[in-house]
């Protein structure tokens, strides 16, 4: 088991693993997105309070979960990089940062489009919305810091430290609806009791969450391959590029 994990620290092994995963992830993502969108727009019944307007939940919640999930996973990568100096962990951070920022942006935009018909405004300085906006700034800050520093090693180290500092925003986002009196509704899925959503709506929501998750895996696999080729261009396995798939 540990031997297998240790092998993942090798760029060549990671490259081959990502290459093998890509076709499966592409098929899974396509299938789940098609099924999820049909379920979200046509199969799911309208909400008794929000009517048809609630359907934005099917893109808003998965992207919000991914915006936090990706940050948590890059924090784990940052710890791995700082403690064990595994370069693949830094490559994963580099390719995942724009994806996390993209999901945060999608969360804010779709949330605004949902807020206008439900709350009467696109934006309000509510604790949940503001803490999510701060997450977007944190993603942007880390990307900017990594690009601003002259040497890749310093940039990686400083970026990893900033990721760990920014980790404090994650519980604030998640518990903001419980800690403060917010306009944003409370948790629907991630809570200790049963999810407070009808099964007919829950099923397409879970499919869309799965679709966004497999999309992220697909994106990271493709981007990681490019990043590894760029970083390892002088090594033997990349020199042998013609034999790569």
């Amino acid at each position: 088991m540990f031997n297998w994990i240790h092998r993942l620290g090798s760029a060549a092994v990671c490259y081959r693993l990502a290459s093998r995963l890509i076709p499966w992830m592409a098929i899974l993502t396509t299938g789940l997105i098609i099924y999820g969108v049909i379920g979200a727009l046509y199969l799911s019944p309208p909400d008794y309070q929000q009517g048809e307007g609630f359907r934005i939940i099917f893109v808003h919640v998965p992207s919000a979960m991914l915006s936090l999930g990706i940050y948590f996973y890059i924090s784990v990568c940052a710890i791995i990089f700082l403690v064990w100096k595994i370069k693949v962990a830094d490559a994963l951070i580099a390719v995942s940062l724009p994806l996390g920022a993209l999901f945060t942006l999608i969360t804010l935009v779709t949330g605004s489009l949902w807020g206008k018909p439900m709350w009467g405004t696109y934006w309000i300085w509510d604790a949940r919305l503001t803490s999510e906006l701060i997450l977007l700034f944190i993603y942007g800050g880390i990307i900017a810091l990594r690009n601003a520093l002259p040497t890749p090693k310093t940039a990686a180290k400083a970026g990893a430290f900033l990721i760990l500092i920014g980790l404090v925003d994650l519980p604030v986002i998640h518990y903001s609806v419980s800690w403060w009196n917010t306009l944003h509704q409370g948790s629907t899925l991630l809570k200790f009791s049963r999810p407070s959503i009808a099964p007919a709506m829950l099923q397409p929501l879970l499919v869309m969450i799965g679709a966004f998750f497999s999309y992220s895996m697909l994106y990271v696999c493709i981007a990681l391959r490019g990043e590894l080729l760029k970083r390892e261009k002088d090594t033997h396995w990349v020199q042998n590029i013609n034999s790569l798939d």
Partner: protein, 46 residues
């Protein structure tokens, strides 16, 4: 189709899925460029 919410729903789905597809195409293009460049460098060396 969705009454008064039609524009909001299509905008949300369009923006979300559109941005995701754009990001995917961008990253595929980036990978192809890197691979092409490496192959060219390799061909020039040999």
């Amino acid at each position: 189709m969705f009454g008064q919410y039609t524009a909001y729903i299509w905008s949300a789905f369009g923006i979300a899925l559109g941005l995701l597809m754009f990001a995917l195409i961008h990253v595929i293009h980036q990978f192809s460029s890197i691979k092409k460049q490496l192959k060219t460098n390799h061909a020039n060396k040999t």
